[in-house]
């Protein structure tokens, strides 16, 4: 056998004496245990009661109990002189249970008339908030606001306070948490007044990487401290400012720290005061600024744009070369260049270099050659002149054409007509002539 689960408490019901509406039997000992859900009371209303009347309900009696406490003993009927009739007034249990006992003796003189009783009961929500304070001295249910709900109640707090884990007491709200807005205002609990109790609050300002936080404390700053020759010492009360990669700073005393530039996108403030001493607290405004990158510098034979007085996070710059020069990065030519100021205050890429372009070797001339007139290593603005292997070949057209290495990396002729020189053979002109002197 295993235990059956307890039945769900009913929200309402009915109780009546055995054999009702027929007269009840003698020597009865009946009991009914009524129960409703927690947070409810039982309201018991008798629809009919007709039990043998006697003084003090000595013979037959219906007893209503709350635990061991007798709420009422009833017998008789509406018009009986003896007995105690509950009338039309309902009986309200202090809690969610009620016990009814019905006892009859062995003698029912008016047996044919005493039919017993019939009663209805229902669950009534208990207004815990209106109940008197418990006698155990634990105090009111809620320290500030009590809200009755069906079958239960809730505690709440005024603005500026928050509910403690016990769900009934309210303490001053820290106003702490994580702040990720670009700017904001923070202050200690109760500021500019001291809080009534010890507090331990944490404020975290955390913004997007690439931005730095600046704290600006107001002048009204007071955190209890012990004054020494070296300055105030924060023994029991302090505001600790922690910036990553830096030693935490403990602030106290009566002098405002003023402006603190953190150079960080994250700052944590821990405010701690105990019940000793008195601190009125602090308030600050914080703002964020884009991280700054160093001046990018210049590119020889080129230029960097745009030219700004300062370069901030997410700013882009581009580099271009002067005509006749090409962009080079790590020994490789690149078509274009831009770099961004990163969140760490460094440029994404270093500046490139501008190297002079070259046109490559000029195209060889069949049966001829190329002479460099000026310039160096086929570089921009170098000038070459073609010639033919005379006297066996000569330039077509007989025009000496020079070619210049232009910015498009092509050798371009100075002659609009001739694009490519050609050597053509010279005919009929031997290098030696038959010479005869004898006549």
């Amino acid at each position: 056998c295993w235990r059956l689960p307890d039945p769900e408490p009913l929200m309402h019901g009915a109780v009546q004496s055995p054999q009702y509406p027929e007269p009840y039997s003698p020597n009865l000992q009946e009991q009914w245990d009524l129960s409703v859900p927690e947070g409810y009371q039982i309201r018991l209303t008798f629809t009919h009661l007709d039990i043998e009347a006697s003084a003090g309900c000595y013979y037959d009696v219906l007893t209503v109990l709350y635990d061991a406490k007798i709420l009422g003993k009833f017998c008789g009927h509406e018009n009986s002189a003896d007995g105690h009739h509950p009338g039309n007034e309902p009986i309200l249990s202090p809690g969610n249970r009620l016990t009814l006992t019905f006892q009859t003796d062995g003698n029912n003189p008016e047996r044919h008339q005493n039919v017993g009783f019939s009663a209805q009961y229902q669950a009534i929500d208990m207004d815990e908030c209106s109940a008197p304070e418990p006698e155990d001295g634990s105090g009111p249910l809620c320290s500030q606001i009590c809200l009755n709900t069906l079958g239960s109640y809730l505690c709440s707090c005024h603005h500026g306070y928050e509910l403690r884990p016990d769900q009934r007491s309210c303490v001053l709200s820290c106003g702490g948490g994580i702040f990720d807005e670009p700017e904001g205002h923070l202050f200690s609990p109760g500021y500019p007044n001291p809080p009534p109790h010890a507090v331990s609050c944490q404020y975290i300002i955390s913004v997007e990487s690439g931005f730095t936080v600046t704290l600006n404390f107001t002048d009204n700053f007071h955190i209890d401290s012990a004054d020494t020759e070296q300055g105030p010492i924060c023994l029991h009360h302090w505001l600790q400012v922690t910036i990553p990669d830096n030693e935490p700073m403990k602030l106290c005393g009566g002098k405002s720290p003023g402006l603190i530039v953190t150079n960080s996108n994250t700052v944590r403030l821990d405010y701690h005061i105990d019940d000793e001493g008195l601190s009125n607290g602090w308030s600050l405004d914080y703002s964020t600024y884009r991280v700054k990158c160093p001046f990018p510098g210049n590119v020889a034979k080129g230029r960097v744009t745009p030219i700004l007085t300062e370069y901030l996070y997410r700013d882009y710059i581009s580099a271009r070369c002067d005509q006749g020069y090409k962009l080079m990065m790590d020994g490789q030519e690149v078509e274009g260049f831009s770099t961004m100021c990163q969140s760490n205050g460094q440029w994404h890429l270093p500046l490139p270099e501008c190297h002079i372009i070259d046109c490559g070797e000029p195209e060889p001339l069949l049966n001829g050659g190329v002479t460099f007139m000026s310039g160096f290593q086929n570089q921009y603005r170098s000038v070459v002149q073609y010639h033919c292997n005379e006297p066996f070949y000569s330039l077509l057209g007989g025009i000496n054409v020079v070619f210049t290495c232009e910015s498009d990396r092509k050798w371009r002729s100075n002659n609009d007509i001739i694009f490519r020189p050609t050597c053509i053979p010279v005919c009929g002109k031997p290098t030696q002539l038959i010479s005869t002197y004898q006549r």
Partner: protein, 248 residues
Amino acid sequence: IIGGSDAPDDTIPWQVMLSIDGGRGGGMVIGDRWIMTAAHNVMHDGNVVPNETVRIYMGLTNVNTLMNSPVYAASIHTHPLYNNPNLVDFNHDIALIKIQDPITFNSSVMPICLPAEGATYVTGTMGLVSGFGVTETDKRRILTNKMKYVQVPVVEQQACSDSITLLKKKKVLVPILTNNMFCAGVPEGGKDSCQGDSGGPYALRDDGRFWAAGIVSWGFDCGQRGTYGVYTRVINYIDWINKTMQEN
């Protein structure tokens, strides 16, 4: 070449020697891939000789010092009107040989110019004919190993025609002199081209530049009195020469 002299090096750089099936002939460079010669040099029994039988030597004046390899023909183009089955009709005796690889000219190999438009063959003008053909030494005819040249004047066409008419009376078969030919030589004989010189150049000089006026074609014997050498009149074939070179 009868009555001539050895050609010094680099004086006649357009002269080539053809060796075709053991026979010797002449030719001249007219372009970096073209040799001009006589059609009868490259014909045998009425057919053009195979390309591989034509060996072309350039840049030499002494056959004995032949050091370079011959150049071979890539294609042979005879004048379409040349028809000489019995070797008595030398009309249109002109041919072009295309060689496989282009020539790089130097002092020993250079082209001769083609006739300019309006060029004239003035009677008495001295021309330069050259070749590796038969020469005469001590009244003996020998095949020279050295390039020779001789300067002979252009002969008046009628005078040349008359000399041939005279021969007709003595010979059975006499080639016909046409206007596509001209004569050069001296009436007293002793200076002429000869066998082995066929296809070679007869060059005239204008303003210091030599041009190909004629191609050694035919004649009666060599250097005889009252006879002249007969040459293909190149100026009549300029159109055909240009067309052939362009089409190929």
